[in-house]
């Protein structure tokens, strides 16, 4: 049974939260400014709690089962992170308080910058960007500011390998750059000839995802970087796949100039059903003058017995502020907790095991599914969800059928360069039994695809909801609901778009 909406369960006169009567004399209300009509639900506390609890039960999360969603790094989100982020010393802190009263928070941010610098090899880090795509835009603005500062104003072109993350083209275009796609070669690396052909004096830079969205570490990375640098361009590294290389390889050592981190992937902060993320950006020393303002720095060194004084500073040639205040602080607390628990050794072990788990799955599936770039992968790999002798079966059907086994499907239809792509990222926190069960399910599904295709095409069968009519949703656009009495009185109609 679908759960009714909060509007369906509203009844006039109910209230779930009460406030004390004013302890001050009442001021007169400005009648002309007071709202006349307030069509809002009225619900008791227990009904609100039951409603949202029941809604939660309609979700699959990392806490309820395996979530091998490629590119998204759905690793376990440690419970301690939720505790530390909720310490009143953090939650009750106002972002505009005098900095002397927020030394704990500023110190934590400073240390987070230091950890991210050590892991990536970059010289400076901003914690301000709110998510991965936001970090990308920040990084591209920094690249543009660099060229502009040199009076080099003709660099209008951004190169994007076809194995880059999906947000990269839009992030680049948002700053006004022209996007040019670079194809991959047959081993899944950036095609060097194609790259060279585009490297001229209009080149602003290259946005490379490494390891890329095929789950492969580009075997020519150093050469790629050199070609771009020789043409006067900068290299942006999309750090969304950093979970494969912590303590193994530092992006800055490969010559990458700018990179964002996804704290909600690599550093175990929860995805929250679509956010909040956090997308700090690291840069080389040369680019640090362009970082968004403010960043955290030591403004007075420690004396013998005390801690240093931390403050917020504005980089000399900053691109400006990319959001209000100092970034997603609550997410930084979670990521910091995670990093100090893992320590140097633990970070490397996390990456090694992420790569181990992905290669294990790939090894067990390569006889059943086509793996277009079959070599040692990093933290994820891409296989094709179709067979010539099973016409009518698509990656989508395999994905939906996996739900019947209690698994969240892999990312499907991405990257675009692999037909019927199924992109699988197990992460390091899954045990062998789970991986084996997942393999068994996929092998059974492959058998069904050939011998009982309907069972895939009609899947899922064991979930509360079946496949959704997405065409209906887009044609008869219903984006909100109303109170029952409003339906009776004015009956807002679905918005019909052509």
């Amino acid at each position: 049974m679908p759960e009714p909406t909060i509007y369906d369960i509203s009844s006039p006169g109910r209230q779930g939260m009460y406030y004390p009567d004013p302890d001050v004399p009442l001021a007169s209300l400005p009648d002309s400014l007071i709202r006349k009509d307030f069509p809002f639900p009225e619900i008791s506390e227990i009904d609100v709690v039951r409603h949202y609890t029941r809604l939660s039960q309609l979700n699959h999360g990392v806490d309820t089962g395996f979530y091998p969603l490629g590119s998204c790094t759905m690793k376990y989100n440690p419970k301690i992170n939720e505790e530390t982020a909720r310490m009143p010393g953090f939650t009750q802190l106002h972002p505009l308080q005098p900095f002397e009263t927020a030394q704990g928070a500023l110190g934590l941010m400073y240390e987070t910058q230091e950890w991210l610098k050590a892991i990536s090899g970059f010289d400076a880090v901003t914690l301000q960007p709110a998510a991965g795509a936001h970090g990308e835009m920040t990084g591209v603005l920094i690249m543009k500011a660099y060229h502009r500062s040199r009076g080099d104003n003709k660099r209008i072109k951004m190169l994007l390998p076809d194995s880059a993350h999906g947000t990269n083209p839009a992030s680049s275009a948002m700053t006004g750059l022209k996007s040019v796609q670079i194809l991959s070669d047959e081993r899944g690396n950036v095609d060097l000839a194609a790259l060279r052909a585009e490297c001229d004096d209009t080149l602003a830079g290259l946005m490379i995802t490494n390891p890329n969205t095929l789950g492969l570490f580009d075997e020519n990375l150093e050469e790629v970087v050199k070609i771009v640098h020789d043409a006067g361009g900068l290299v942006y590294g999309d750090g969304a796949n950093l979970n494969a290389i912590m303590g193994i390889s530092r992006p800055a050592d490969s010559g990458i100039d700018v990179m964002h981190f996804n704290l909600h992937k690599t550093f175990s902060t929860p995805h929250g059903g679509g956010g909040p993320g956090s997308g700090p950006v690291g840069v080389t020393a040369e680019l640090s003058q362009f970082l968004p303002s403010p960043i955290v720095d030591i403004i007075e060194d420690a004396d013998d017995d005390g801690a240093p004084l931390y403050g917020l500073v504005t980089p000399e040639n900053t691109i400006g502020r990319v959001k209000s205040f100092h970034g997603h602080f609550g997410i930084l607390v979670r990521a910091f907790t995670y990093m100090i628990m893992l320590g140097e050794k633990g970070l490397r072990q996390a990456s090694e095991h992420a790569v181990l788990n992905a290669n294990y799955l790939q090894a067990l599936l390569r006889d059943t599914y086509k793996i277009p770039h079959d070599r040692i992968c990093m933290h994820e790999f891409v296989m094709e969800g179709h067979w010539e002798d099973a016409p009518g079966i698509h990656a989508l059907d395999i994905s939906k059928r996996l739900m019947d086994f209690g698994f969240h499907p892999p990312t499907n239809y991405f990257p675009l360069i692999v037909p019927e792509a199924l992109m699988i990222e197990p992460t390091e926190t899954e045990n062998k039994e789970t991986l084996d069960a997942f393999v068994d399910a996929l092998i059974q599904i492959a058998d069904e695809a050939h011998n009982n295709p309907e069972i895939l095409q009609n899947a899922p069968h064991n979930t509360l909801f079946g496949r959704m009519d997405e065409v209906q949703a887009a044609r008869n656009l219903v984006l909100c609901c109303w109170l029952p009495e409003d339906y009776e009185e004015s009956a807002p109609q679905p918005l019909i778009l052509d």
């Binding site: 972002p95 059903g273 956010g275």
Partner: protein, 448 residues
């Protein structure tokens, strides 16, 4: 830490892969600096990490330790226990974006309800699933209005009463476009009439704040009419809590409503994560950035929800998308949805009025102190600017050092000539005793 494999698991898995050692998995990486020394400390157990974080947290002096009247866009409100109790459900917070609707109906329906609540709160026709924060929501409004006019109109008017961080963020977003920003340099005394004078045929959007950064509430009806006569759009940036009592912008014709959703049950957390509210008219839905949830039916004929109109978004339209935004503030939208459901129509009005009465009591008392006066005559909600007899920074410093009071926000930080102005916010968290204490300490201030 958090790794389940036993030694024998690991050996068996390496054997299956066909390599001997873990290091063999990294053959394709550049050999220079492989497995670098990071000079980072050893790991900690949970117990040790908890102690370390407790130590760090205790180095902050918070709204619990101090008496605080600091607002300026972020407010110390009561967060009902129901909100966090639900947010802690792993089914919500450990889920990803609901791309697989069959097993994501919890997130999808919660967002759909959030969209509905925002539509009703703001008086608009459609809301998206949220942006990063209030500042980036405004930047997206600018971007949208520019595209609604097919990039032909270049002028964006930003009210000088728009939060300084929000204005700075818009500048960062548009720095390499042909958009021109005007209006910010108007006198801060300027009301909607002065803004109207700037509207012309090249104006794509007018952005006003309601209540504005100084706490002032204006009637924007005439401004909206003038903007519409010039075919310009109007965005109104709100404190959503104030809409528990104030006329919603939809009623006076706004085309876009953005807002900082922090006041809807989200803790201050030193600046985030917060919630960027974005609502608009139906006719602009296809130009709106961000995720959208729509109602539909499943194969069993049941009502269900899906992400819809995704052809607008970056993962489909790539470089031709209007915005690069991918994530929303899913968990914060959930928090705001729970908060609004729990308070409902009457609770939201009650808490809004409580803020209003307390702030007016404080303003009246402060205005009675010799040397202090309320800076503007406009009506206000829970925040107001006070002209002080000497620099606000000095007064704030004195009150913090000697009385453990954060007296407010020093407006001289952002506005030349306002060095003597203090922006004071009063919420339901400030008792009458606290307000009286503030008034008493301000009265004792040496004014010479």
């Amino acid at each position: 830490m958090f790794l389940p494999h036993t030694d024998s698991d690991r050996e068996a898995m390496l054997r299956t892969i066909g390599v001997e050692r873990m290091e063999d998995l990294f053959q394709s990486l550049p050999t220079a600096n492989l497995f670098p020394n990071l000079s980072l400390p050893d790991g900690l157990t949970e117990m040790e990490a908890q102690g370390e974080l407790q130590h760090i947290a205790s180095a902050n002096e918070t709204a619990q330790d101090l008496v605080s009247f600091l607002g300026a866009g972020v407010y110390n409100h009561y967060c009902p226990s129901v909100v966090d109790s639900i947010l802690r459900r792993g089914e919500f917070y450990t889920a990803y974006t609901p791309y697989q609707p069959e097993i994501s109906q919890g997130t999808l329906q919660a967002i759909f309800e959030y969209q509905s609540l925002i539509v009703n709160l703001t008086g608009m026709e459609a809301s998206n699933a949220s942006h990063y924060d209030g500042a980036t929501a405004i930047a997206e409004a600018v971007n949208m209005a520019y595209h609604v006019h097919r990039t032909k109109r270049k002028k964006i008017i930003l009210s000088p009463g728009l939060h300084p961080h929000h204005r700075e963020t818009v500048h960062t977003y548009i720095q390499d476009s042909s958009i021109q920003i005007v209006g910010e340099n108007l006198s801060i005394e300027a009301g909607p009439e002065e803004i109207i004078n700037l509207i012309d045929q090249d104006t794509a959007l007018v952005v006003m704040q309601y209540p504005d950064f100084f706490g002032r509430i204006y009637d924007f009806s005439a401004l909206v009419e003038a903007a519409h006569a010039a075919k310009a759009l109007v965005a109104v940036h709100v404190n959503p809590l104030a809409l528990g009592m104030l006329t919603p912008p939809g009623d006076f014709g706004a085309d876009i409503v953005t807002g900082e959703g922090q006041s809807l049950g989200i803790p201050m957390s030193y600046g985030g994560p917060y919630l960027g509210i974005f609502a608009t008219r139906s006719k602009y839905v296809r130009k709106m950035a961000g995720r959208l949830v729509g109602e539909t039916t499943d194969s069993k004929g049941q009502r269900g929800y899906v992400l819809t109109l995704s052809t607008r978004e970056q993962h489909i339209r790539r470089e031709r998308a209007i915005s690069n935004i991918c994530s929303n503030q899913g968990l914060l939208a959930l928090a705001a949805g729970i908060y609004m459901s729990l308070l409902g129509k009457n609770g939201l009005r009650q808490v809004a009025e409580l803020n209003y009465h307390k702030a007016h009591y404080a303003a009246q008392k402060i205005a009675a102190i010799p040397g202090f006066e309320i800076a503007f005559e406009s009506p206000f909600f829970n925040e107001f600017a006070v002209r002080c007899p000497r620099p606000a920074a000095e007064i704030a410093d004195h009150l913090l050092t000697h009385h453990d009071i954060i007296a407010g926000y020093d407006l001289g930080q952002d506005y030349d000539g306002m060095e003597n102005h203090l922006l004071i916010a009063v919420t339901e968290m400030n008792s009458r005793e606290e307000i009286d204490y503030l008034v008493e300490t301000l009265s004792e201030e040496p004014h010479a």
